[in-house]
Symmetry: C2
Subunit: 279 residues, 2 copies
């Protein structure tokens, strides 16, 4: 049985950086906490807990610990609250997310209506929104949302870093005719698109496709949906233990990819198990 | 015979303003000149000459006269040259053109590659280009021109005020994917679109369409082409004297429109002549 592992499987730049920062902080500091789980991988969160990094759900409940800000950032209020408490901060906000926050802030300061393409409930988006010190800030999911908006003469546009470029482009296109000035910052990180495109390519040439990642991870779920459109025999697993040997009966080639929050060791365990089964 | 005169026929806001400023200046000042013909109407230029306003073709040849800057503006060099000569200036640059110049200047100053949608040879465009103090400034006519460009990460977009919105939109759309930041100023004045749309409506319900304006006027020529696509019996005339009575044989309804540089009195003469013929 041949195994094809997508090159882009697993951690993106921002997640890798955040996890490294967390382990380094755990080595040097005593009490550490992250505001919300650092990433959507229960296995990695458990390992971090083993290193003394606990998950807390509000800034208010933090005491004298070092605080890790996770890759999708926090809101302006939360950041200010942490600073007021004078807690040591390890800011692992992804630099691409930081850019989106900064552009949104700049647009608000310069009098633009700020339109953010993304999921209103996502912490990254809530963070970006919070940096806009202007009365007009809107989160839109698609072109239909834009049509319902009442924007001013000056409009600024940014995106949640994991948005699909096509959707962002369509929204920008719709806005051109709605204002006198439109200032567009393309804040999309192409890691998501690269991963999805590669997943499509792998899924097209294999008999079975395995997508590895937290069942609570939005980007892994999306990846599994994309693959199953191409290869109906696609299975979303969190760890090697979820592999059903029956899936591989008579299979010549198996494809593998993993979400942005799937640790390297979990991918390796899956590869090892598949090699075992292939014997 | 019924006569339908388009409401938007004749002078646009900027031309009306420039002509009024010229006549007022002629009343108060002695020697007056305009840099190039004030508008593309030989009849109006002749009338202005009668008032003592002569046409000169270069700043160098100006002496002690008051200078009228025409509605589509001048280049930065020409303006500086006029100021160095300390000649009295009547600046009749259309406020919409001025805005386009100012936005182009701002974009150049703030480090954008500046893209201008328009006709490279048009004095308005040459004026706008001249205000960009940056190495990257490009004039594009259509999307194909944009595809051939090498722009930077920050791109700014403005348009010649008389451009078709659809073309501007298509170019903006093409640019979205070509840079990290795109700042779009829609500097199109909708007078042109309003005039063209109304001309289409009138041409569709008449037996003969007359388009009045200088044979050297680009916007009148375009208007005539638009009308003849709808009503093949479309005639482009400069004055009432060009009307061929044969055109109106058996005609029940005649439509009329006029370019942005066609004076009111020329339109009135055409209307009067048609009323005469209808008797």
């Amino acid at each position: 049985m041949k195994i094809i592992l997508a090159r882009s499987a697993g951690f993106c730049f921002g997640v890798k950086r955040a996890v490294n920062m967390a382990f380094q902080a755990a080595e040097s500091a005593g009490h550490i906490c992250s505001l919300g789980p650092l990433i959507h991988s229960p296995q990695l969160v458990a390992r971090l807990e083993g290193e003394g990094i606990r998950v807390v759900n509000s800034v208010e409940s933090m005491t004298d610990e070092t605080v890790i800000i996770r890759s999708h950032g926090v809101t302006r209020d939360e950041e200010e609250c942490l600073r007021r408490k004078q807690l040591p901060i390890v800011d692992a906000t992804c630099p691409f997310v930081k850019k989106a926050q900064e552009y949104a802030e700049l647009l608000g300061r310069e009098g633009y209506s700020v339109v953010i393409v993304g999921e209103a409930e996502h912490p990254e988006v809530q963070g970006i929104v919070s940096y806009v010190q202007a009365p007009s800030v809107f989160v839109v999911a698609d072109v239909a949302d834009v049509r319902a908006l009442r924007v001013g003469k000056k409009v600024g546009l940014v995106a949640q870093t994991t948005q699909a470029y096509e959707n962002f482009h369509a929204i920008a296109q719709e806005l051109i005719g709605r204002c006198k000035e439109l200032r567009i910052f393309n804040t999309i990180c192409d890691a998501t698109a690269v991963r999805q495109n590669e997943a499509r390519e792998v899924a097209a040439v294999v008999d079975v496709m395995l997508v590895i990642g937290g069942h609570n991870s939005a980007n892994t779920n999306r990846l599994a949906r994309i693959c199953s459109d191409i290869q109906p025999k696609t299975y979303h697993i969190e760890t090697a233990s979820e592999i059903d040997n029956g899936w591989l009966d008579g299979v010549k080639t198996v494809g593998l990819t993993a979400g942005a929050s799937t640790p390297e060791w979990i991918i390796s365990e899956v590869v090892e198990k598949l090699k075992e089964l292939a014997k």
